[in-house]
Symmetry: C2
Subunit: 255 residues, 2 copies
Amino acid sequence: MEADSPNLLSKAKIKLINSLRYPKYRKQHMLFVVEGSINVLDFIASDLVLDVLYASAEWIHAHHRVLPIEKSMAIDARQMKKISALSSPSEVLAVFQMPLSTTIDLETLDELILVLDGIKDPGNMGTIIRTADWFGVKHIICSTDCADAFGSKVVQASMGSLARVKVHSTDLLELMNNRPESWITYGAYLEGDDIQEVSKNNKSLLVIGSEAHGISDYLEFCIDQKINIPMHRDSGAESLNASIATGILCYAFRM
Amino acid sequence: MEADSPNLLSKAKIKLINSLRYPKYRKQHMLFVVEGSINVLDFIASDLVLDVLYASAEWIHAHHRVLPIEKSMAIDARQMKKISALSSPSEVLAVFQMPLSTTIDLETLDELILVLDGIKDPGNMGTIIRTADWFGVKHIICSTDCADAFGSKVVQASMGSLARVKVHSTDLLELMNNRPESWITYGAYLEGDDIQEVSKNNKSLLVIGSEAHGISDYLEFCIDQKINIPMHRDSGAESLNASIATGILCYAFRM
């Protein structure tokens, strides 16, 4: 196969790639899609395994040094339109193998870990992954009703950080109930102690609740320390966006 | 007009309300649309002037004490679908008069003010308005190429905070060039002094650059102090989302 002359995609390939917009088929094939040059290059540089890459001949030419050329196929813009989920398709679309979900062993870790309870908005989820990466958070543990981390919108909003941050999905009650004693759980609440005043443990689970309902009631008894980002006395706002709150709390933990 | 029996919307009304999705017609009519119960109630409680409100008879009945009933009209879900910009319309849609854009006089102010340079994403813009409100920021000054603050997505993401925070649109170079000497401009850069270490002035203009390009080159000489949110040494992220950076910087300024 020549990587620098445009090829035609088979109907079956087009169908497969489009099916990966749905969690069911991502799970069935254990594949997910990454679009956009920066994003794709970030994923290629990561530990994740590339399945196949489609791009313009120019893009492949410009990046051939970092590409597994046997998995790269040059296609034209018309073909790209048939597989892209973006309204303005980029020059490159890559299919990666989904990492096997691993269980997280708190006994072996000693760091700040994010715990997301019902974050449903893919944009928030992607932004939280990107923010976690900025602050050196390596693991995010999600409740099973969070937005799927490998959905198109999450992958786009994570800006390549999904290639570095490990996202786990699990039963939060079980996780928190069985945490080793050395771990402290912090929960973001509208009423809680000022995050600035709270002493931070090395082994911390920082729990962020859903956009609409905050942290689930059934998890409350697992929270060791309720924390809060103080609102200004002149404010009339009811809450902060979940990803903004996560960003501020990560910053406060890292200070 | 009976507020509790469903009415029919005229074709002209439907056309007018749908036209308000476009900046051109918002400007022409000086009207904008707010949807969703919490949002609408927040705007009704604000200084902004209601033009007309459409809601289910139940919603109007439940909130009749706070509504100008002569401006409220009960419609059914089918009618609502014809005017709502949401894929799942809510029970209420209100049309408000757009506030006249006022010039901001820094001589009379003494506070933290946000300056947005080319924030294009309506979700980011709305989230920044909501975050500003949380931290008691009363004025946001936007470059003329920012997303329109009264667009549907911005109004939704601002969660009612747009009713409290004043959003101005102006030539940033002129604003910053003519600022009184007592004001200090802080600019968010990837290379800058750690925000935690920087002394904060009372009269501060905090400049946030665009999602793609940061602060415009032509504004750089107006920046007194470049600031930065330190990245963790293990991070591979290239940047933070603009609204996340704004949230963290507002928090750091308020500490």
